[in-house]
């Protein structure tokens, strides 16, 4: 049930290659996404989005009637929703431009379907987290909205730091998040020398979410590298 609501999101795919559109649509379909519309030009995309009101868009940068960056501005001007660029242009400048204009992610072709799906799910989880306050872990649930953990029917509050750390782990659920990325999530840029504090916070988080904190199953340590959050249904 956990991520089913995300699969209902209306997705708009824009690329000038019809075959690529078919393929991306089939990848999304296979992963459970049901509401997908495609467009081959900016004009088409604008027309479709007026009628369809997408909640997420995957855009190519080079389109027959203009640039995907311009299209994004146009689309976001009516309703702000997440955008991922999927493009054959691997130039760093393009990447920076995409991000500076407000893109949520930028992927260069060719790509593995697995990687694309991971990124889409991460973006959707981050953008629409309010709609599903309960994240199911083995042994407990997290309510990010209310910053609390529900274990055995008991509500245990999370501190701000614990909330930030768990949110970073949840965005990358099922993947390792480095010690450095977690420190940055909790303490901001250039977080040096917080490794020991991070370990203390992880210990306290485990006491809150794990059934047996001494042998964790939801928040796993990857020695020397970082931590991984196991979310049910992933």
């Amino acid at each position: 049930m956990n991520s089913d609501y995300l699969k209902q999101k209306r997705i708009l795919l824009v690329d000038d290659e019809p075959e690529l559109l078919d393929m991306v649509a089939s990848i999304l379909n296979e992963d459970g996404f049901q509401n997908i519309k495609t467009a081959k030009t900016i004009a088409e995309a604008v027309a479709v989005s007026k009628e369809y009101a997408p909640e997420f868009a995957i855009l190519d940068v080079m389109l027959p009637d203009g640039s995907g960056f311009d299209l994004m501005k146009q689309l976001k001007s009516t309703f702000d929703y997440p955008v991922l660029f999927l493009t054959a242009r691997g130039e760093d400048d393009d990447k920076f431009r995409g991000f500076s204009l407000g893109a949520d992610d930028y992927m260069v072709k060719p790509f593995l379907p697995k990687e694309l799906l991971f990124r889409i799910n991460a973006i959707l989880r981050r953008s629409y987290k309010d709609e599903n306050p309960l994240v199911k872990l083995p042994g407990s649930e997290i309510d990010f909205d209310r910053a609390e953990v529900i274990k055995n029917g008991k509500h245990i509050p999370l501190t701000a730091k614990e909330h930030s750390i768990l949110a970073a782990l949840y965005r990358n659920a099922g993947r390792i998040v480095t010690i450095d990325a977690l420190c940055e999530a909790a303490w901001g840029d250039n977080p040096f020398g917080y490794e020991n504090s991070l370990m203390a916070h992880i210990r306290r988080i485990r006491e809150k979410i794990e059934t047996d904190p001494s042998s964790p199953v939801a928040l796993i340590t990857i020695k020397g590298l970082g931590y991984k959050l196991i979310v049910e249904g992933k």
């Binding site: 290659e17 075959e19 690529l20 393929m23 991306v24 089939s26 990848i27 296979e30 054959a88 242009r89 691997g90 130039e91 760093d92 260069v108 072709k109 060719p110 790509f111 593995l112 379907p113 697995k114 990687e115 990358n172 993947r175 390792i176 998040v177 480095t178 010690i179 450095d180 990325a181 040096f192 020398g193 490794e195 990857i222 020695k223 020397g224 590298l225 970082g226």
Partner: protein, 463 residues
């Protein structure tokens, strides 16, 4: 050529002119000195004049006032010796006491050719006797007879030095006047030649003596600049061509990769077919890496890749690369071990984060590509003396000493300008070397203590 001839003509002219001027100058000097020194015959003449003008008046001899004054002026005394008595019958008032008052024939003979008591003497014949003039001692050089003006000889060194100094000064003035223009026109040419190798656009004013030379330098600079532009254009075209090709391959390769990947995970397909699909996936991933590498290598080679270094914690950067590999890599045949010392939390270096991540992931990808049978990969960050080191090694099949020597020494085919059919290593390592070199670091390739291949990146540490 024209300006060289002009120069030679000029130099010959200056030489002739200065020689002529020197000769004239020396003649003038000689004349002045000669005129200023008393002539040798003058005392004799004076003696003759005195003899002629001495007249007798009432048994007394009288010298006209003007002559007496002239003698007084030169401190000269005079006597008149009578022919018959051989005695002095007249003398000037200032006659020194040591001068004898009577003379023998031999005395007369001696004084005619020389001196009385050290006074140089000159004689003049009068009607009844002989007039003798006595010049001050040391007024004539003691020669056989007093013929050389004393000051002429006494001042000879001084005169010689003065003439020499005047000559040198004249030569210097001629040289300075003649060459100041030449030096003025040489100066911009020298600075122009000096800035040619610095790849600067040189433009010298084509004026003056060496205008032809200046024009040639300007032309050379123009040719160099246009060659540079051409080369740059060619390099840009080549890098753009590579970028264009890799762009055009990306979309079709996406389809290959995407569909093969779907087939690979399709439960309805027989196991054999899924295995085939998995080979397509892994090979298309290799092609993807190749395209990325080709593009980056050409950009790095032609300096078209902007490098934006910033102070970064290398431990964090390398850790992120390792985690990205573990997160995306599906196969279990190549486990990555994080070997960095737990106490090493930070190691700062000035790096372009994206490029350095690329270098490290290329090294890890290399271990995977060259060990299809599977291997352990060991990644470690260490500190040396003022350096940060990244070590990526494996326990795979490794390489022979000869191969390692070659990897360390020989250039890659991308940057090799000779025709070669020799099999060279992949682009992955070339990029690593390019990136590390661009960061002022060193790449060392060798054997791993784990039995396989080992690459160490050594970068300058930032405090």
């Amino acid at each position: 050529m024209k300006s060289v001839l002009k120069l030679i003509r000029r130099f010959v002219g200056i030489m002739l002119l200065s020689s002529a001027l020197l000769i004239i100058l020396n003649f003038i000097l000689l004349f002045i000195i000669t005129v200023r020194q008393a002539t040798n015959s003058q005392p004799w003449q004076t003696a003759k004049e005195v003899a002629d003008n001495l007249f007798q008046n009432d048994n007394e001899y009288i010298l006209p006032e003007n002559l007496a004054l002239e003698l007084k002026k030169t401190d000269t005394w005079a006597i008149f010796i009578d022919n018959t008595t051989m005695n002095v019958v007249w003398h000037t008032d200032d006659l020194p006491e040591t001068i004898p008052m009577s003379y023998s024939i031999s005395d007369i003979a001696r004084l005619t050719r020389g001196y009385i008591d050290g006074y140089p003497t000159f004689t003049g014949e009068a009607e009844n006797g002989l007039v003798v003039l006595g010049y001050p001692k040391d007024s004539f050089w003691k020669h056989m007879w007093p013929s050389w003006d004393y000051h002429l000889i006494a001042n000879l060194p001084k005169t010689f030095l003065t003439v020499l100094a005047i000559n040198v000064t004249l030569i210097f003035m001629i040289y300075a006047a003649a060459n100041s223009r030449l030096l003025k026109s040489v100066k911009p040419i020298v600075s122009g030649i000096q800035s040619l190798p610095a790849e600067e656009d040189v433009h010298i004013k084509e004026k003056g003596l060496l205008s032809e030379l200046a024009a040639n330098i300007n032309k050379t600079s123009e040719i160099l600049q246009s060659q540079r532009r051409q080369l740059r254009k060619k390099e840009t075209a080549r890098a753009n061509w590579i970028a264009g090709v890799s762009h055009d391959i990306r979309t079709p390769l996406s389809m290959v990769m995407g569909y093969a990947s779907q087939l690979e995970s399709d439960d309805r397909l027989p196991k054999d077919d899924r295995k085939k699909a998995s080979v397509i996936v892994s090979k298309s991933r290799q092609m993807k890496n190749l395209i990325n590498d080709l593009n980056l290598a050409s950009k790095l080679e032609y300096n078209m890749q902007p490098i934006n270094p910033a102070r970064q914690n290398l431990v964090a950067v390398v850790r992120q690369v390792v985690v990205d590999f573990i997160n995306t890599d599906i196969d279990d045949k190549h486990p990555i071990e994080w070997e960095t010392d737990e106490d090493l939390k930070v190691c700062f270096a000035d790096i372009d984060e994206d490029l350095m991540k690329r270098a490290v992931s290329n090294l890890i990808q290399n271990c995977i590509n060259h060990n299809e049978q599977g291997c352990h990969i060991f990644v470690r960050v260490m500190t040396g003396e003022d350096t940060c080191m990244i070590v990526v090694e494996d326990d795979g099949r490794g390489a022979t000493d000869e191969q390692i020597e070659k990897l360390n020494r020989s250039p890659h085919y991308m940057i090799c300008d000779e025709n070669t059919s020799e099999q060279r290593h992949g682009l992955g390592l070339l990029i690593v070397k390019q990136i590390v070199t661009a960061h002022g670091g060193v790449t060392e390739i060798g054997h791993s203590s784990y039995g396989g291949f080992s690459v160490t990146l050594i970068l300058p540490m930032q405090e």
